[in-house]
């Protein structure tokens, strides 16, 4: 049986027979379906996915007319960020990277201007600086521009913040104290998001992107949802895009609800529905790549979760497809063969509105 060149979830090249690929496609889809209690991919979907994966061309692309909007996770920050192994670390002015280069070189349709640290709490401290740079970027760019940061509830707990660290409390069996701490941190985070948004709106920013939501579990998601609801009440002209951190919301508080729904344990299609109720304009589900399993398994699984999410959506869905998510391998320089295959599969099988 001929072997096809493909990869593992960590990006390494491997070869697989057609049967091995088909088996992994089925297993990946089944895994997603069983976990989230959603439909598996159809036989036709799996066949299409198989054809995309075994395509002999290194780079693949969608058919004419199927192109989607790219909001692409802080795109232009790739130029200037240097976090050790990710980012190019180039000496470049941020306004140029996030504006002109993002829309003219990277082809991004919605520009995302991230806070250097990536979180709302530190953004609060330097909001005047951010407002100035974003103001300049708005003057020189044409595409819609969002400010982007994470709720990152971890910054509101000790030693960085005032609230007791809840995981330690949970491990000591002090659930009530842990919950009070999480609720306090979520309130403070909500306020930080509103504060930053208010100041950036003054210079004319188009939207706020609340990213990596749920990284600190259900209270983190709760902070993002309540902040969205408040923003939409006060500033209806300010768009909100929300990108998640994980495929399932970790339950640390476990009793937090939004619109009557318990947030802990929500899967992408359920996260989407509460995000819609909060007023989110574009939703970004995240499906985590398992580096030790194959690219076909990971992509099939990611497409299954995302398809279920898209099917339930009334707002645009832009899955996160950066390193280690959305079927893309966990490698700082994600191989182009996998990026383009994941892109085509998400567009043509899951039916996403953007990436």
């Amino acid at each position: 049986m001929p072997e096809h060149l493909t990869r593992r979830g960590d990006g390494r090249l491997i070869t697989m027979t057609g049967k091995q690929i088909k088996d992994d496609l089925e297993l990946g889809s089944k895994d997603a379906a069983e976990r989230a209690k959603i439909p598996e991919l159809t036989g036709e979907d799996l066949e299409t996915l198989y054809e995309i994966i075994i395509d002999a061309n290194k780079v693949v692309a969608v058919k004419h007319g199927c192109e989607v909007v790219l909001s692409a996770d802080a795109g232009g920050s790739t130029f200037w960020i240097d976090s050790g192994t990710s980012g190019l670390g180039m000496p470049i002015e941020r306004s140029i990277a996030q504006g002109a280069l993002s829309e003219r070189v990277l082809g991004l349709d919605i520009l995302q201007f991230p806070e250097s640290d990536g979180s709302f709490k530190p953004a609060k401290v330097i909001v005047s600086y951010l407002a100035n740079v974003i103001h300049n970027t708005l003057h020189t760019s044409i595409s819609p521009l969002e400010f982007m940061a994470m709720p990152n509830l971890g910054y509101f707990y000790k030693p960085d913040g005032q609230w007791p660290e809840p995981i330690s409390l949970i491990r000591e069996g002090k659930n009530d104290e842990a919950r009070k701490s999480m609720e306090g941190a979520a309130r403070e985070c909500h306020d930080a998001i509103i504060y930053v948004a208010k100041h950036l709106r003054r210079v004319g920013v188009d939207g706020i992107n609340i990213d990596t939501v749920g990284a600190a579990g259900d209270p983190d998601f709760y902070a993002a949802l309540t902040a969205t609801e408040s923003l939409k009440k006060v500033y209806p002209d300010l768009a909100v895009q929300m990108g998640m951190a994980t495929e399932a919301v970790h339950g640390f508080h476990t009793e937090l609800k939004y619109a009557g729904e318990r947030l802990a344990g929500m899967w992408p299609h359920q996260q989407l529905k509460v995000a819609e109720k909060a007023g989110v304009d574009i939703f970004g589900p995240v499906i985590n790549t398992k580096p030790h399993l194959t690219f076909p398994w990971n992509l099939s699984r990611a497409v299954t979760f995302t398809k279920a999410c898209v099917r339930e959506a009334t707002i645009p869905v832009h899955p996160n497809m950066g390193m280690g998510v959305g079927g893309v391998p966990m490698l700082e320089t994600p191989p182009l063969d996998t990026v383009t295959r994941a892109n085509k599969a998400m567009i043509e099988i899951a039916g996403v509105d953007g990436i």
Binding site: V59, A61, V62, H64, G65, C66, E67, V68, V69, L70, S71, A72, G75, T78, S102, E103, R104, V105, L106, G107, L108, D109, I110, L138, H139, T140, S141, I142, S143, P144, E146, R201, V203, G204, V205, D206, D237, A239, Q241, D281, I282, A313, T314, I315, P316, M321, G322, M323, V328, P334, L336, V339, T340, N343, K344, I347, V352, D353, G354, I355
Partner: protein, 104 residues
């Protein structure tokens, strides 16, 4: 990596009409087919032409809504967005701010 997504399935931002379609998604919650339809009607082009560099390069120049190349005298940045707000029939925050400030 964004270039991989652009090559495989991106609309192309101001190279074509991606900024306009993206704006309708972000500001009006339009799903992709609806956003493409809306922009195509406003521009008087087909859905395929929305992502076609040949059509859109000429059209963007004609409508003066910003082009990717350094065309002398063409609308840039905020200037282009003033015209885009009018073309799409929407409010753009920084354009609103400009109009408010310019009413001395």
């Amino acid at each position: 990596m964004p270039i991989g997504h652009l090559v495989a399935g991106g609309i192309g931002s101001i190279r074509t009409s991606g900024d306009l379609i993206g704006r309708m998604q972000l500001q009006k919650k339009m799903r992709l087919p609806e956003a493409k339809d809306y922009v195509a009607k406003k521009l008087g082009v087909s859905s395929i032409e929305l992502c076609d560099e040949f059509t859109m390069r000429k059209l963007r120049e004609k409508l003066d809504i910003g082009v990717i190349t350094g065309l002398p005298g063409a609308a840039k940045g905020l200037e282009a967005k003033v015209r885009i707000a009018e073309l799409l029939g929407i409010k753009i925050n920084c354009v609103e701010r400009l109009e408010k400030l310019s009413k001395v």
